[in-house]
């Protein structure tokens, strides 16, 4: 307790770790690190180290948990016993159970659960090294693991905390700021700026919360950029052209499913001559189709694809500035129960000391 710093922000406006008040810690991500998982991601954020794994959709047992119209997203947040200075008791605790619940709900609006009725998508977030903001780091890693697993999602989720030290709002709290600061406000949001998780520890005025949320939006914007970069560069080692060729083939096969079925069946001693003839015909058709479609495609690539990313950015930018306090207040209510949230964060502080 005695290692509380006298000042969190120096006269130059820099924090203990040299960041500005609106700067997030450096983040690195690596995807597909676990071979047995359907999707995985290892993320380092400052001194936080988090490993997320996704399994599924898979069969859900016990059956009574099954939902007839959608999949269940089961999120498990866990801190390794060695993740903090003083060993914590392994296994679920009150704190981790609660974080698991609210973090799982943070993915509610993006995961297309209705595609997999009765199944379960398991998300495991293991904190290997903790340094304040582990639940936000875990959510950032879990998003990428879900994407890696090929789960259909409407978009990404990013998470970042804002807090108050020395009477000033700071983005992405570090350890001392978390332990001795006046407030901690972890938030998760979708790319549209919809808030999917909001908890608070400590006290903030309504104005501070509104301002804090705006700061988090800026932070999440940076995290989305990191996530997107990781996704788009995962296949960076291979020649991009070649990937695209493969894709062409996949699309080809996908569009002509019936044919490929026929071809498969040939192996099972179907009368040869007829099917050959059929195949030849089909393939001839295929070629023609191809050429026509190509032309069409060219026509509308020119004006649209190029703009796509810019537009997305534009949209995003607008959204970020446009969403105001009113909407935030609403989402606060449904995303988490505040008193519990407050307790739990104190808890993190205690344990980590």
């Amino acid at each position: 307790m005695s290692d509380k710093p006298e000042k969190f922000i120096d006269e130059n406006g820099l924090r203990l770790d040299g960041r500005r008040v609106d700067e997030i810690r450096p983040m690195t991500v690596e995807m597909g690190v676990l071979s047995r998982a359907d999707g995985s991601c290892y993320l380092e954020w400052g001194n936080n180290k988090v490993l997320a794994a996704v399994y599924g959709p898979r069969e859900l047992h016990p059956r009574r948990l099954q939902r007839p119209s959608e999949a269940l997203v089961r999120y498990r947040y866990n801190m390794a016993a060695f993740s903090v200075e003083d060993r914590i008791r392994p296994g679920p605790s009150r704190r981790s159970t609660e974080i698991s619940k609210v973090s799982g709900e943070a993915f509610e609006p993006v995961v297309m659960k209705q595609f997999y009725p009765g199944a379960v998508i398991d998300v495991f977030a293991e904190v290997l090294q903790a340094d304040a903001g582990t639940r936000t780091a875990a959510i950032n890693a879990a998003t990428l693991a879900l994407v890696d697993a090929g789960i259909p999602m409407k978009g990404l989720v990013a998470s970042c905390a804002v807090g108050k030290v020395d009477g000033q709002l700071v983005l992405d709290l570090n350890k001392p700021e978390d332990n001795y600061g006046d407030a901690d406000l972890p938030i998760a949001m979708t790319e549209d700026g919809e808030i999917t998780l909001l908890q608070m520890d400590g006290n903030l005025t309504a104005d501070e919360i509104a301002k804090g949320i705006e700061m988090v939006r800026k932070g999440c914007e940076q995290i989305f950029a990191i996530q997107k970069e990781a996704l788009l560069s995962k296949f960076g080692t291979a020649d991009e052209e070649e990937i695209l060729k493969e894709a062409e083939l996949q699309a080809e096969v996908a569009t002509s499913e019936d044919e490929s079925e026929d071809v498969e069946v040939i192996s099972e001693t179907v009368s040869e001559a007829e099917i050959q003839a059929e195949d030849d015909e089909l393939e001839a058709e295929d070629e023609d189709e191809d050429i026509e479609l190509q032309d069409e495609a060219e026509a509308f690539t020119d004006d649209e694809v190029g703009d796509a990313s810019d537009e997305a950015e534009d949209l995003f930018g607008e959204d970020v500035s446009e969403f105001e306090i009113t909407e935030n207040a609403e989402s606060e209510d449904d995303s988490s129960s505040e008193p519990e949230g407050a307790e739990s964060d104190e808890d993190e502080g205690e344990k980590n000391e």
Binding site: G150, P152, Q250, Q276, T301, S309
Partner: protein, 263 residues
């Protein structure tokens, strides 16, 4: 360029009527649902890089018997959902007391998905040409997302695999591949399929696999493959493979030229 790598939530198009599989529409715009490659030919669709197999009607899949009830065989399908094969869907009339004589727990079977209900009740059928119980050979599993690669354009890759390895091959939509032939042929074929799965990005893979199976530069064993020994089944199917392979090669070439032009 009419194709590119996309991530969930990425804006693909502003023409909502063009939305295809793997996309969703919001405010009149099309966005991607998946991490994969977007295809802008015709309708806008996204083919994912990974993902589980989800049963859909008319798919041929390779399943495993996990239970036998008085009127159904319960099958493990490699998806989150088990499949049901009713006795009446077996090609022969089977008395329910004798069901285990025909297929018992642990047997692998080629079946066709007859229907999938909204609650994902998967009904299977064996009353289709090509359905059979697999009594010999091996089953290899690949990622379901890679199945199109293993089949190739109009079956080009599968033909090469069959022809060059002297094995019988059946590719199930659920990522299970049944192969049958002599042991060392099957070993080579297994390696080849693993190559397809891990190197699916490489262009001209069909040729590369062909060379590998023929015992080309990278081939480890190159002893007896050249002497085309008549394998029981291979004898017949080889001939038609020759032709389909030729035509699909041509398609391959055409497609590749096309893509080069557009690039």
């Amino acid at each position: 360029m009419d194709r590119n790598i996309v991530i969930p939530g990425q804006l693909l198009s502003e023409k909502k009527e063009m939305a295809g599989p793997g996309t969703y529409v919001k405010d009149g715009n099309i966005y991607s649902l998946l991490y994969g490659v977007a295809n802008f030919k015709g309708r806008v669709s996204v083919v994912p890089f990974s993902g589980k197999y989800i049963p859909s009607r008319k798919d041929f899949i390779i399943v495993k018997v996990i239970d036998v009830t008085p009127s159904n065989w319960i099958m493990e399908t490699g998806s989150p959902y088990d499949g049901l094969l009713h006795v009446s869907e077996f090609p022969k009339r089977v008395d329910s007391s004798e069901m285990r004589k025909f297929m018992d727990i642990g047997d692998s079977v080629v079946v066709r998905v007859k229907d999938v209900s909204k609650a994902m009740k998967v009904e299977l059928s064996m009353r289709e040409q090509g359905s059979k119980v697999l009594r010999q050979g091996r089953i290899i599993e690949v990622m379901p997302a890679k199945v199109p690669r293993v089949i190739g354009h109009g079956g080009s890759m599968v033909s090469v695999l069959k022809k060059e390895s002297n094995c019988d091959v059946f590719v199930g939509k659920n990522g299970r591949i049944w192969i049958n032939g002599r042991d060392n042929d099957m070993d080579r074929l297994t390696t080849a399929i693993e190559m397809i799965e891990s190197e699916s990005h490489i262009s001209g893979l069909t040729d590369k696999i062909g060379i590998f199976l023929r015992g080309g530069p990278e081939g480890t064993e190159s002893s007896d493959e050249e002497q085309l020994v008549d394998e029981e089944v291979a004898g017949v199917s080889l001939e038609d493979d020759d032709v389909t392979e030729e035509t699909s090669r041509k398609v391959d070439v055409l497609l590749e030229n096309d893509s080069e032009e557009t690039d």
